[in-house]
């Protein structure tokens, strides 16, 4: 009965560890699950490892068990489940041995077929196990009284009695607000950016390594041996370029401001520039883009190890990116396209990433889909969610 439920949850893309299936069986066996509510709670605690998926679990649970008769799995179902998950379980034999309480030596001697047979027997075991008292499920009429919720034909879920409560609880959808990643908040941003700092030993060897000194001294039998290290320094240089013009960026002002705040407090060597829609021959160091222009071509003099982070929604009219006179700002005219300048930046700074405040799901359907796809050919693009920022940071620290 719950085997298909398990599959359905996995099919929905919920990352359920394959061994969770065995653990759930074990919980049932230990007599810890005596009602539908117990099953609802136990299955969630064992299978679902992030509150993000709690709501999906609730909906699936209500949908699946509403008015359904709870039956134990048939031998065929069990065998199929074992066969389909065996390979996954065997990826981590230690865990499998641990859950089953197997003897590792005996385990090694099994062939695949023997192992399947063994598992099947364990899962429908009728007799008492070594620790006494408890049974694997599938015991039908001989189950201890506590298992009454699972007797074949014993209880109709969704009718009167315990089962209906679980459905009701599941239908309350208490976890709805946790289901979506939502806009990233300041503490998450700080957490993600922290990882971009990378300290490298440079400078003179003048930092006393106390642990190593003590260790070496003791190894020397007490003759003091003083160990020095090179000083650690954050050498990371970061350039942050933000699109702060145009109504299309308006909804993201808050998130960009937070990003800027945290970038500022996290990186010692941070330079921030602003542009409108696309980078052309000039960017500005002042947010209103009036007083402190900087020629884009001058970036070629910067340290190529500098990490370049561009923040923008990448949504513009195709000519703004492609045409030589694409800049829509009045009085600005140049002879190269935004596309060319972006390529120039990508060549200058091999460690670069484009952060898009629009979430990934929209990139292909938004009005700016065409320009976004063009920019993605030049820069790896990440969305400004926690996961996106995390991947961007991983990409930026990578040695190339």
């Amino acid at each position: 009965m719950f085997i298909p439920f398990f599959y359905e949850l996995r099919a929905l893309g919920i990352p359920i560890p394959p061994t969770a299936f065995l653990r759930l069986q074990k919980a049932l066996n230990l007599g810890m699950v005596n009602s539908m509510e117990d099953f609802y709670i136990a299955a969630r605690a064992i299978m679902i490892k992030s509150e993000k998926y709690f709501d999906l679990y609730d909906r699936m649970f209500a949908h699946y068990f509403e008015g359904v008769e709870f039956k134990n799995p048939s031998d065929e179902e069990l065998e199929e489940a074992i066969r389909s998950m065996l390979l996954e379980w065997l990826k981590n034999p230690k865990e499998l041995i641990d859950i089953l309480g197997l003897d590792p030596e005996q385990f090694k001697k099994y062939t695949a077929e023997e192992l399947i047979k063994y598992l099947l027997e364990r899962l429908k075991e009728q007799n008492e196990r070594h620790d006494g008292g408890s049974r694997w499920i599938g015991t039908g009429g001989t189950s201890p009284v506590g298992h009454s919720g699972y007797h074949p034909g014993g209880m109709r879920v969704g009718g009167s009695g315990g089962g209906g409560m679980a459905i009701k609880v599941a239908m309350e959808r208490r976890w709805k607000e946790y289901a979506y990643d939502g806009p990233i908040d300041s503490s998450q941003m700080a957490e993600a950016l922290k990882r971009l700092r990378h300290l490298t030993p440079t400078g003179p060897m003048d930092e006393l390594n106390i642990d190593e000194t003590i260790y070496q001294t003791v190894r020397n039998g007490g003759e003091i041996d003083i160990i020095y290290d090179r000083r650690l320094k954050d050498k990371l240089k970061v350039i942050l370029m933000m699109d702060n013009g145009g109504w299309s960026m308006d909804p993201y002002i808050e998130v960009c401001r937070t990003l800027f705040m945290y970038a500022n407090s996290n990186f010692k060597d941070l330079k921030t520039y602003y542009f409108h829609n696309c980078v052309y021959d000039r960017v500005y160091a002042d947010p209103p883009r009036q007083t402190k222009p900087m020629k884009t071509i001058d970036f070629s003099r910067f340290d190529p190890e500098t990490r370049l982070i561009i923040v923008g929604d990448g949504s513009m009219a195709p000519y703004e990116l492609g045409a030589d006179d694409g800049n829509i700002e009045y009085g600005e005219y140049q002879s190269r396209s935004g596309h060319w300048w972006l390529q120039f930046l990508a060549r200058t700074f091999p460690h670069a990433a484009w952060l898009n405040p629009k979430t990934k799901d929209y990139w292909e359907i938004t009005a700016g889909a065409y320009t976004i796809s063009k920019i993605m050919e030049i820069f790896p693009m990440f969305d400004l969610t926690l996961e996106g920022l995390d991947s961007a940071v991983k990409h930026l620290v990578k040695k190339q």
Partner: protein
Amino acid sequence: MMKDVKNLKEFEGTESYVLDPELRKIVNITIALEMPLLLKGEPGTGKTLLAHAIAQDLGLSLIVLNVKSNMKAVESLYQYDTLTRLNDARFGDSKRNVKNIEEYIRMGKIGQAFVSDAKVVLLIDEIDKADTDFQDDLLDVLDQMSFDIMEIDKTIKAKHRPIVIITSNAKKDLSDPFLGRCNFHHIAFPNQEMMHSIVAAHFPEIEKNVANAVINTFYSLRKVPNVEKKPSTRELINWIRALNNDPKFKASQLGKDGNVPYLGVLFKKSADLEQAKAYINH
């Protein structure tokens, strides 16, 4: 090992810890399965308190490992006290045998939990603070319930499998292998009804109208935008304590005309406090 789980009574909560029945079930299943329980949820939802309540209710001692950002897994297992050994080697005025390294091995928190003669509750608090290496190393130790002391080539095996509670504040998920080995629960921030029971557990004498006024104001203050750390249950309890000690405090006046005394108890970061003040006077 199975035996000592059997001998434990079920966890039922304690007087001062208001326990959600769902969480109680999860704790009991976790204890029966002998798996660690990973608890997530925003700060102040009682994740740490739960471990205290389990220990108290089951009559076990509690060992707390407070994870720090630069912590290495080995520190939580044992430490080789080289400094004392050096001192003994140089000045030789202790009873310890300098040649015997074992006399200079001190157990860390996890080590203590393993060598304890009775079953204990082991709380690994705020595991998200350390890096993923720490988490992975710890995972192996908790899986095997044993670790090696390299310096003296000795294996420490848990005499009794501790009940392991792990907490994390991070919204980011831990690594998949780690999650696979733990049972998981997310403690949601209590709703107003639940908060009334929590407040009543801390302040049995509180008057109904005071509790109402304070809790309503508290929940509206949690809606202040752009705050880095929202006030949690802990701050609410401290705030009520502060208000109780103020003879001038009148519940009926709370929240009227921007009258929210001791706002700093609720918002501890100065930037957050400014935001809250602006919100109230708005």
